[in-house]
C-alpha cells in the first residue's frame, strides 16, 4: 500500500514539474509584446535581440518566478492551517492573516513614505519582515479571541472573519491618508499584483520560501498527528500545544512573506490543499510538496490569464484567482457540514 502511494507521489511530482515548466514557457512567450516559444529558447541561449532579452529577463521572468514562490507559499500556509485547526475551510486570507500583513505593509509605506522603487533595496527587504509582524499580530488576536477552553474550528473561522473586517477598516483609514501616488500603489498591490515586479522582490521572498517549506516538510508527521484531533495526538505523546504553535508560526511566516511580495491573494491557500488531498490522500509528507507545486502552477497560470485576458489592461492576478476559485470554495462550503 505504502509503495503504491510512493510511486503515485513520484508520478504526480513528475507531471506537475512538467506542467510548471510548460506554463513557464507559455507565460514567457505571451504578453503585449509577442515572443514565440522558439524565440524564447533562442533568447535563453543568448541568441535573441536586446529588446527580447530585456522583456524576458527584466520583466517577465521575475514575475513568473515570483508567482511560483507566492503560490507555493500561500498553498503551504493554507495546508498547515487546515491541518492544525482541523478545519477544511481555513485559509490565511479568510482568517485575516493576509489583511494583517497588508495593513503592516501599508503602515510601513505610510510612516516611512518609503517607495517601492527598485533602487530602494533596504525597504524591499524590510517589507517581508514587517508583513510577518503584521500577520503575526493578526494571528495572535485570532488565537486569543477564539480561545475559550480550547480552540473550536468554527469559532476560529468566525473570529477570523471579524478580525479581517477590523483590519480592513484600518486599512481604508490609513490608505486614504496617503498621498495619491502611494494610495494607488497600495490599492493595486493589495488586490494581489505581481506583474509590475523586479528581481529585488524575488530575492526578498526567496530566503523565506527555501527555508520555511523544507522545515514544514520535516514537520509533516506532526501535522498528520495533529489532524487526527487533540485527544489522539495527546495519546500518541506529542506535545500538542507547542507543536501547534510552531506550525502556526510557519504558516504565518509563509503567508506574511507571500503577501509582502505579491499582495493579498484570496482563496489560493484554501483550494490548493483540497485539490492536493483529492489527488494524493491525507498524508502531509505528500501534501506539502504537492501543494507547493500546485500552488505555484496555479498562480503562474492565473498570472498568465491576468496579463492577457483584457489586453492592454493588465489585471492584478489576485482578482483572477478570486474569480476562478470562489466557485470552488462555494462548492466546498455547500458540501461540508
Amino acid at each position: 500500500m505504502k509503495k503504491i502511494h510512493k510511486s503515485k507521489f513520484r508520478w504526480t511530482v513528475f507531471i506537475l514539474v512538467i506542467g510548471v515548466i510548460i506554463s513557464f514557457f507559455l507565460s514567457l512567450s505571451t504578453g503585449i509584446i509577442a515572443i514565440s516559444p522558439v524565440e524564447v529558447v533562442q533568447t535563453i541561449l543568448h541568441d535573441g535581440t536586446a529588446r527580447q532579452e530585456m522583456v524576458l529577463f527584466d520583466f517577465r521572468l521575475p514575475g513568473i518566478i515570483l508567482a511560483l514562490f507566492i503560490g507555493a507559499g500561500l498553498a503551504v500556509s493554507g495546508s498547515i492551517l487546515q491541518g492544525v485547526t482541523q478545519n477544511e475551510l481555513a485559509d490565511p486570507g479568510i482568517l485575516g492573516i493576509n489583511t494583517g500583513a497588508g495593513l503592516a505593509v501599508v503602515l510601513f509605506l505610510f510612516f516611512f513614505q518609503g517607495d517601492l522603487e527598485p533602487t530602494n533595496t533596504s525597504s524591499i527587504f524590510l517589507l517581508p519582515i514587517f508583513a510577518f509582524i503584521g500577520a503575526l499580530v493578526a494571528a495572535g488576536f485570532i488565537y486569543l479571541l477564539a480561545w475559550k477552553k480550547g480552540i473550536d474550528p468554527i469559532r476560529l473561522v468566525l473570529v477570523g472573519i471579524g478580525i479581517n473586517a477590523a483590519f480592513s477598516a484600518f486599512l481604508v483609514i490609513f490608505q486614504l491618508k496617503m498621498d495619491p501616488q502611494n494610495f494607488r500603489q497600495a490599492t493595486v498591490w493589495l488586490s494581489g499584483d505581481i506583474w509590475n515586479t523586479n528581481w529585488m522582490f524575488v530575492l526578498s521572498i526567496l530566503p523565506w520560501i527555501i527555508t520555511l517549506i523544507p522545515v514544514t516538510i520535516s514537520k509533516a508527521k506532526t501535522l498528520d498527528v495533529l489532524t487526527l484531533g487533540d485527544e489522539v495526538a495527546a495519546g500518541l505523546g506529542s506535545k500538542i500545544e507547542k507543536e501547534r504553535v510552531t506550525l502556526l508560526f510557519l504558516a504565518v511566516a509563509l503567508a506574511g512573506a507571500s503577501v509582502a511580495a505579491g499582495g493579498a491573494i484570496a482563496f489560493l491557500g484554501l483550494i490548493v490543499p483540497h485539490i492536493t488531498r483529492k489527488i494524493i490522500g491525507p498524508l502531509h509528507q505528500y501534501i506539502i510538496p504537492i501543494s507547493t507545486l500546485i500552488g505555484g502552477l496555479l498562480l503562474i497560470i492565473a498570472d498568465m490569464i491576468a496579463k492577457n485576458l483584457l489586453q492592454p489592461t493588465q489585471m492584478p492576478v489576485g482578482i483572477i484567482v478570486s474569480i476562478l476559485s470562489a466557485p470552488y470554495f462555494i462548492y466546498l462550503l455547500m458540501k461540508t457540514k
Binding site: I154, A166, P327, M334
Partner: protein, 336 residues
C-alpha cells in the same frame, strides 16, 4: 420568554421617546459640526426662519440637512433589514453587510457605468437595487441548499465567498473601463454627496418597506419562534418570508445605493434592541429604526471629526464599532 414580561409597555415607550429625543439632538449636532462650525442657534433659525441671504443657512439647507436626514434614514433602514433577517432566519449573524449587498450593488453600478454610460441616475439606483438583491439571494441559496442548513458559519463564509467574487468582477470591469476613480468615490463615499433627490428616493422606498415591515412584525415574532411552531399556529410562512425578503430588498437597496458600504449597523442594532426591548418584533422594528438612525448619525459625525478637515469613510467607522460586537457573537454570546 419570561424575560419579556419585565418590559412594561410604559417603560418601552419611555425608552423610545428618550432615544427619539437623543436622535433629534444628534441631528442638531450633525448639522452644526463640520468644515465650518455653525452655532446651534443658527441651525434652529435656518430650519424655522430660513433666510436665503445668509450663507450658513444655505449650507444647512443644501448640504448638512439632507446629509443628516440621509444618515437617519440609511441607519434606520439597515437596522430594520437586519432585524427582519435575524427574526426570519433565527441566525444571529444575519445582516445585510455580511451577505454581500455592498459588493452586489457595486458590481451592478460598475456594469451600468461601463456598458450603459447613458443611464440616468434613477437607472443606476435601480441597478444597484438589483445587484444588492442578487447578492443576498445567492448567499441565502448557498446557506439553504448546503448540508446542515443555514448555520452561522455557512452564512458568514458564504458572504465572504460571494463578496470576494463580486468585488473581483467589479474591479476587473472597472480596471478595464478605467472607472476605478468613480468606484473609489462610491466605495469611500459614505454620506458626503447626499442631496434632496437621494432623500426622495429613500422616502419612497422607506414608505413601502417600513409599512410592510411594521404590518408583518407580529408574524415575524411568531416566525422567530421557529418555522414549525409558526406553521402550527396557522401562519403562512412562505408568504411572510417572501414579503420579508421584499421589504429587506427595498430598504437595503435604497440605503446602499445612497450611502455605499456601511457595514455592521444591520448586525449590531437588532441585537442591542432585542436586549433592551425583548423579543416582540412589534417593538423591535420601530426601536431598531430609531437606534439605527442614531448610531449612523453619530458615526457620520465621528467620520467628519476624526481626521478633519478630511472625511474618513463612515463605513470604516461603523466597522470598527461593529467588529467587537461581531467577535462577541462569534464567541457564542447572544445565542441561547
Amino acid at each position: 420568554m419570561l424575560h419579556t414580561i419585565n418590559h412594561s409597555t410604559f417603560l418601552r415607550l419611555l425608552i423610545n421617546i428618550f432615544s427619539f429625543i437623543a436622535l433629534l439632538l444628534s441631528i442638531g449636532f450633525s448639522i452644526a459640526l463640520g468644515a465650518v462650525d455653525i452655532h446651534l442657534n443658527t441651525v434652529w433659525n435656518a430650519l424655522f426662519h430660513f433666510d436665503s441671504e445668509v450663507t450658513s443657512h444655505q449650507i444647512i439647507q443644501e448640504l448638512r440637512l439632507p446629509r443628516a436626514f440621509a444618515a437617519v434614514l440609511v441607519g434606520a433602514f439597515l437596522a430594520i433589514s437586519g432585524a427582519i433577517m435575524q427574526g426570519m432566519t433565527r441566525n444571529p449573524l444575519a445582516s445585510p453587510s455580511i451577505m454581500g449587498v455592498t459588493e452586489g450593488s457595486a458590481l451592478a453600478l460598475v456594469i451600468m457605468l461601463a456598458f450603459f454610460p447613458a443611464a440616468s441616475n434613477s437607472g443606476l439606483i435601480i441597478a444597484s437595487f438589483i445587484g444588492a438583491g442578487l447578492a443576498v439571494t445567492m448567499v441565502f441559496m448557498i446557506g439553504s441548499f448546503s448540508k446542515g442548513g443555514l448555520t452561522q458559519v455557512k452564512l458568514a463564509l458564504g458572504g465572504v465567498a460571494i463578496s470576494t467574487m463580486l468585488s473581483s468582477i467589479s474591479s476587473l470591469i472597472s480596471l478595464h473601463f478605467q472607472l476605478e476613480r468613480q468606484m473609489g468615490f462610491w466605495m469611500a463615499g459614505g454620506l458626503a454627496d447626499t442631496n434632496w433627490n437621494s432623500i426622495q428616493l429613500l422616502l419612497v422606498c422607506g414608505a413601502i418597506g417600513l409599512t410592510l415591515a411594521i404590518s408583518m412584525s407580529k408574524s415575524i415574532t411568531i416566525l422567530s419562534l421557529g418555522d414549525d411552531i409558526a406553521s402550527g399556529l396557522g401562519q403562512n410562512n412562505m408568504l411572510i418570508k417572501i414579503l420579508g425578503i421584499f421589504s429587506v430588498l427595498l430598504l437595503t437597496g435604497a440605503a446602499v445605493s445612497i450611502a455605499g458600504p456601511v457595514g455592521f449597523i444591520g448586525l449590531i442594532v437588532p441585537h442591542i434592541t432585542r436586549f433592551i426591548m425583548g423579543t416582540d418584533y412589534r417593538w423591535i422594528i420601530p426601536s431598531s429604526a430609531i437606534f439605527g438612525g442614531l448610531l449612523l448619525v453619530l458615526a457620520d459625525v465621528v467620520s467628519r471629526l476624526v481626521n478633519a478637515p478630511y472625511e474618513t469613510p463612515v463605513g470604516a467607522i461603523t466597522s470598527l464599532i461593529g467588529v467587537p460586537f461581531f467577535l462577541y457573537l462569534a464567541r457564542g454570546g447572544g445565542t441561547k
